[in-house]
């Protein structure tokens, strides 16, 4: 069939050529319109259920809300992990589903189960699913400020909530905008406990009268005459004055209005978070995208809308848009990898020109690159694959190999045409080209097949690593297969037009100086090799063994560190700190950070914004730092950041990372760190104690940084203990008393006030004077007795300053505490085994256990998988070779290239990072395929010489075969190596972080496998190849006889 394709292409050459040109144009257009992102879709389907429960303590939130929701969701199909955080007044449950499941189906299942859970939740509590977003969903920050102070924090927040947010939410692709900072406007009725008592009013009176403070109702329709009228009762309050004048009860027969017992005012919604930019107060808005939205185009659309918006903003307001943007990293990373692709192509062109010394053959060979790339773009478009650093990386790795098939074909056609021209009766050019292409067709197809097969097991990689590397493999395979198709169709056609139609002068195939030079020295070397083949084999065997042994001493990392051009700083102060202090200290840190020249801007969020799906306390500051491009290394800048923070806020715990890396860690283990020691058990206090014990045991381990016991600690609480006996005596129930106290102290919404298009809540609660001290709370009247005496809180219980947990986290239906850490300057794997040793003697009570997670978790799993998949790849290579050569001996000889490649790979890693990452392992599996190619071409040619050109087995044949294959072998290897050099010398550049170790392994491996192959393959074929070769020839001759 493949011969028919070559024949058809040569017969219909004009049609094929035209089709190729059309494909080039269409493919180029498609390539420019493919969706662009920094990474492939790494989203694990996660459904987040958020429940606001004002006034609930963490223990109550956990038991009454999180637990029923967890039980309801448990057992859902494809559910991998359930996590929850229960904080003061907030429960957040994350349901993590298996990769590849449909998020919308998952959401539907969660919604169904939530209906069941609702029955078990306290009255008035209703859980909601947060909008679906992606791991890299936070695409940009914007902020509203008023540098002149013309606009108050409340006016800024109102502008953000009611003008900016709705405009941006209407953009297709924006999923959520979380606003933090400023003052959220609220209408408030702040009751004085003292005045309430003097007027003889009780909590019950307030609740009853003010719950109907203002309502509009409908009386249905009536017909008057021939017209229909809608009846409306207009009781809604429309101003502060209306609220102040509202009736609240009766005292000594006189009606009492709200203003007599309360202050009515516009105030700020109770704050649990705040924001700032560059150390100045601001309303910070985080824009999140939908999972399917394309970041770059969405960012551009948002920017356009923001430009329009800023023109219509009131005087004195500044809309800051030059803060963190994910698109900066994407553009930078994609630009860098595209540059690598371009530079790789230039390198390939130089190598081709150097070897071929003929612009026509160089042109034909080079055509394979754009043709293969546009074919890949068309297939990408067809399958909905986008452009990202990994798919571009796959192409960058493949770029040197895209010309391989064409090189082999062109070289052979060129040689055969030259030989043909020397003949007395030359054959027709088309026939020569066809025969020459057919001659090398088998080795091209089989070597490409091996490269493809080697990659196939990589698609079995699970988890994040699978999502990350599969697109690289897809891009690589598609482009390599495209190049094979090009070499079977377009290359022979171009050969006909560009080198076949040349005047028929009998010109000797004159080689360039460089090739002649190489061949001269290669011949001398091979001659020596064939004299001492055993010495060569033993020497190479020893070096291979040393390389394998050296691997065991190398460090291991999961993924290389990214260079995102920005930093995410988590600052955890001691829980119990007030929002005011935490906010002030946070702003001081920001100002200190801005003194570092590399820091471009800072955006800070402290605590939790309304609608935020994180249950962070006010002790948590998160600063996103945008960095200038700088000569200084990322590590140096980060170290400066740490120093600055410690100068300003020495006692704060710092977790320093980068936005995307942090989120990847979070997705892997639910924790934002490389190492997560998760302690599970029923009692939060015991978990905290065990956390402390483990901290003590590992705190001095070298290479451990950012060590932190999850701050699930005791925070100050003002508690009211209700004495059941006393409450009974007062003819009350403990529940009623608790509810009354909640209404007075925490407050509740008694209605809404509408201002134009804006809806604001009306809050009723005690004023600050009445609720600020334990003593004033003790004197709150809960009931008026018929005697006229008031029943006060202090008579029914104790008000005291105690402590309680700030938050309770759960995972897999169990309470969980995490001791987290990052590694610095040491191998992650080694560090984890040291930790394991240190904690193995921890005495765990019954019902408690420890799990180690984080990046380490993914690394262990992926290394295990890669070892098995690598073995499977080797087996596949062997089977393909065996099928091709019909000889296990010849297949094994070719596979000897693999240990030869290992020598170079290990050497290259030793010279660079000295650490094996998942990317290195994947690169090595890829290398197995590429390296085998050299052996295939060499041994195939030996057999060809014996079968078709009457050569006999011997040193002469081996030397001739090796020298004839020297040029294509060196060219294919050199193009592959030089195409990767832009990645090789770009360690740590954005976008190339994962591709750099791939380049290191492939370049190192190809160097040794190519050079040693020229020594080892002839030697081993000379020693062990004769019998296998004779057998292969006999088989070939038998099959030829059968053809006739």
């Amino acid at each position: 069939m493949l011969n028919s394709i070559i024949k058809l292409a040569l017969k219909q050459r004009l049609i094929f050529l035209t089709a190729a040109i059309i494909l080039l144009i269409v493919g180029a257009w498609q390539a420019l319109h493919l969706p662009v992102d920094v990474f492939p879709d790494l989203n694990r389907p996660i459904v987040t259920v958020m429940t606001e429960a004002p006034g609930f303590a963490p223990e109550e939130t956990e038991i009454e809300i999180s637990l029923p929701i967890e039980y309801a969701l448990n057992g859902l199909p494809d559910l991998l992990r359930l996590r929850s955080s229960s904080g003061p007044g907030i429960s957040i449950v994350h349901a993590e589903f298996d990769w590849g499941t449909d998020i919308y189906k998952n959401r539907q299942m969660v919604a169904e189960r939530l209906q069941l859970a609702k029955e078990k939740l306290p009255p008035g509590i209703s859980p909601i699913m947060t909008p679906s977003s992606s791991i890299m969903g936070e695409i940009m920050f914007i902020a509203l400020t008023s540098p002149s102070g013309e606009m108050s924090p409340m006016e800024l927040r109102t502008l953000a909530e009611w003008t900016v947010r709705p405009r941006l939410l209407s953009i297709s692709g924006v999923s959520q905008i979380v606003t933090i900072g400023g003052d959220l406007k609220q209408f408030q009725i702040l009751v004085s406990a003292e005045k309430m008592q003097s007027k003889g009013l009780t909590v019950e009176d307030l609740k009853h009268s003010l719950s109907e403070i203002g309502l509009n109702t409908s009386g249905g329709f009536i017909n008057i005459g021939e017209r229909e009228y809608l009846i409306r009762a207009m009781g809604r309050v429309e101003s502060l004055e209306h609220m102040a004048e509202s009736y609240v009860g009766t005292h000594l027969g006189n009606p009492i209005s709200v203003k007599e017992i309360a202050e009515v005012r516009i105030g700020s919604h109770f704050k649990r978070g705040n924001g700032s930019i560059n150390g100045n107060p601001a309303v910070v808005m985080t824009i999140q995208k939908q999972p399917s939205a394309e970041t770059l185009s969405l960012t551009r659309t948002i920017e356009k809308e923001l430009k329009l918006l800023s023109e219509s903003l009131p005087n004195g307001v500044e809309l800051k848009t030059d803060l963190f943007k994910q698109s900066y990293f994407i553009e930078n990373a994609i630009g860098n990898v595209s540059e690598a692709l371009r530079d790789g192509t230039i390198m390939v062109a130089i190598v081709l020109m150097l070897f071929l010394m003929n612009w026509r053959t160089t042109f034909i060979t080079l055509t394979a690159i754009p043709m293969s790339l546009v074919l890949t773009a068309i297939i990408f478009h067809f399958f909905g694959i986008g452009v990202n650093t990994m798919t571009l990386g796959g192409l960058a790795v493949a770029i040197g190999e895209l010309v391989d098939d064409a090189i082999v074909d062109v070289e052979n056609v060129h040689r055969r045409l030259s030989e043909n021209r020397l003949l007395e009766y030359p054959s027709p050019v088309l026939k020569v080209i066809y025969e020459a292409s057919k001659e090398i067709r088998n080795s091209i197809v089989f070597s490409t097949l091996i490269i493809v097969l080697v990659f196939l097991p990589l698609f079995a990689l699970s988890g994040l690593e699978g999502r990350l590397f599969s697109p690289m493999g897809v891009a690589y395979i598609i482009s390599i297969l495209s190049s094979l198709l090009v070499s079977l169709t377009v290359t022979p056609v171009l050969c006909y037009y560009l080198i076949g139609k040349k005047s028929g002068e009998a010109k000797v195939n004159k080689e360039g100086f460089f090739v002649r030079f190489l061949k001269k020295y290669a011949q001398r070397l091979i001659e020596i090799t064939l004299v001492h083949p055993r010495v060569i084999l033993i020497g190479v065997g020893v070096i291979s063994f040393i390389a394998i042994y050296a691997v065991t001493f190398m460090g291991r990392d999961f993924l290389p560190t990214f260079n995102e051009g920005s930093a995410t700083i988590g600052l955890q102060a001691a829980p119990g700190i007030s929002l005011f202090t935490s906010n002030q200290k946070g702003m001081e840190v920001e100002k200190a950070l801005l003194e570092i020249p590399e820091v471009k801007s800072t955006t800070r969020r402290v605590g939790r914004a309304e609608m935020d799906e994180h249950a962070e306390g006010v002790s948590w500051n998160e600063i996103d730092v945008d960095l200038h491009k700088s000569e200084k290394s990322k590590e140096k800048v980060f170290s400066q950041i740490r120093t600055k923070i410690k100068e300003v806020w020495p006692e704060v715990y710092v977790n320093l990372g980068q936005p995307i890396s942090h989120r990847l860690d979070h997705m892997l283990s639910g924790v934002r760190s490389q190492i997560a020691l998760k302690i599970f058990g029923p009692d939060i206090v015991e978990l905290r104690r065990l956390g402390g014990e483990i901290y003590q045991k590992i705190k001095d381990i070298e290479g451990l940084t950012d060590l932190q016991v999850e701050p699930l600690v005791q925070i100050p609480q003002l508690k009211i203990f209700i004495d059941k006996e006393e409450v009974k005596k007062a003819r009350m129930s403990a529940g009623t008393m608790a509810k009354d106290l909640e209404a007075l102290l925490n407050g509740y919404s008694v209605g809404q006030l509408i201002e134009g298009q804006q809806i604001h809540n009306i809050l009723l609660r005690l004023d600050e004077k009445s609720r600020s001290q334990p003593e004033t709370i003790e004197n709150i009247s809960l009931k008026l007795l018929p005697t006229g005496d008031h029943v006060k809180v202090k008579e029914l219980g104790n008000v005291y300053k105690g402590t309680g947990p700030n938050m309770i986290n759960r995972e897999g239906l169990q309470r969980r505490l995490v001791v987290s850490a990052n590694s610095v300057g040491v191998d992650l794997n080694e560090l984890v085994s040291t930790i394991k040793k240190a904690i193995q003697e921890t005495n765990l009570p019954t019902g408690y256990h420890i799990e180690i997670g984080g990046q380490f978790e993914g690394q262990e799993r992926s290394t295990r998988q890669m070892i098995w998949l690598g073995l499977l790849s080797l087996l596949l290579i062997f089977l393909v070779l065996f099928f091709h050569f019909n000889s296990a001996v010849l297949a094994s000889q070719i596979m000897l290239n693999i240990p030869l490649a290992l020598i170079g790979s290990v050497g290259a890693i030793y010279l660079t990072s000295r650490s094996f990452s998942l990317a290195s392992l994947i690169a090595f599996v890829t290398l197995c395929g590429i390296a085998s190619r050299n052996g295939i071409m060499m041994i195939s040619h030996y057999l060809h010489l014996m079968m078709e050109e009457n050569e006999t087995f011997g040193k002469k044949m081996i030397i001739r075969g090796t020298l004839e294959r020297l040029v294509p072998v060196l060219m294919t290897a050199l193009t592959a190596i030089l195409a990767l050099t832009p990645l090789l010398f770009a360690k740590g550049e954005p976008g190339k972080e994962i591709l750099h170790p791939v380049a290191v392994v492939i370049v190192g491996g190809l160097l040794t496998s190519t050079l040693l192959d020229l020594l080892v393959t002839p030697a081993i074929f000379w020693l062990f190849g004769e019998k296998a070769a004779q057998k292969a020839i006999q088989k070939y001759q038998r099959s030829k006889t059968e053809e006739f």
Partner: protein
């Protein structure tokens, strides 16, 4: 009889130190997630915040009422207990109708790097615990208040 009188005497002696000092507000969380309080010389227990803080104690109470008692130096480094008394005497008081009253005592025993013991069942909240221990020849006191 001798033992009985000794217990009565010891119990009475506790009231000398009750809530006159050494308690103060509950401090920030400790290294093991519990609450911290300063350890002072027993003789200075009545001086309140003016007493010299010798060490720090962290009290951790599990849901089952198991108490773990850790001792730190002033730099919050966990201390070796070899020079401390093998057990700690503890006195318990609860708040009822605004006043604290004595309800009983219990003991904590040395357990590796900390002391351990069982808290008696308590109906009312909050409650205070006073601990009495010694370091070498020095008698020490530490009080935890408003526990629940």
């Amino acid at each position: 009889m001798k033992t009985f009188f000794s217990i009565i005497l010891l119990a009475l002696s506790f009231s000398l130190f009750a809530h006159e000092g050494g308690h103060g507000d509950v401090e920030d969380g400790g290294k093991f997630g519990g609450v911290l309080s300063p350890i002072v010389a027993k003789s200075e227990a009545g001086k309140g915040n003016k007493a010299k803080f010798l060490y720090k104690a962290e009290l951790v109470r599990s849901a089952a009422g198991v108490l773990s008692f850790y001792i730190f130096d002033n730099e919050m480094k966990l201390m070796d207990l070899k020079d401390f008394s093998p057990e700690i005497a503890a006195k318990l008081e609860v708040k009822k109708k605004g006043k604290f009253s004595y309800v009983g005592d219990f003991k904590l025993q040395k357990n590796g790097n900390h002391y351990k013991g069982q808290l008696p069942k308590i109906e009312y909240k909050p409650f205070n615990i006073d601990f009495f221990l010694s370091h070498g020849k020095q008698d020490l006191f530490v009080g935890f208040s408003n526990l629940d």
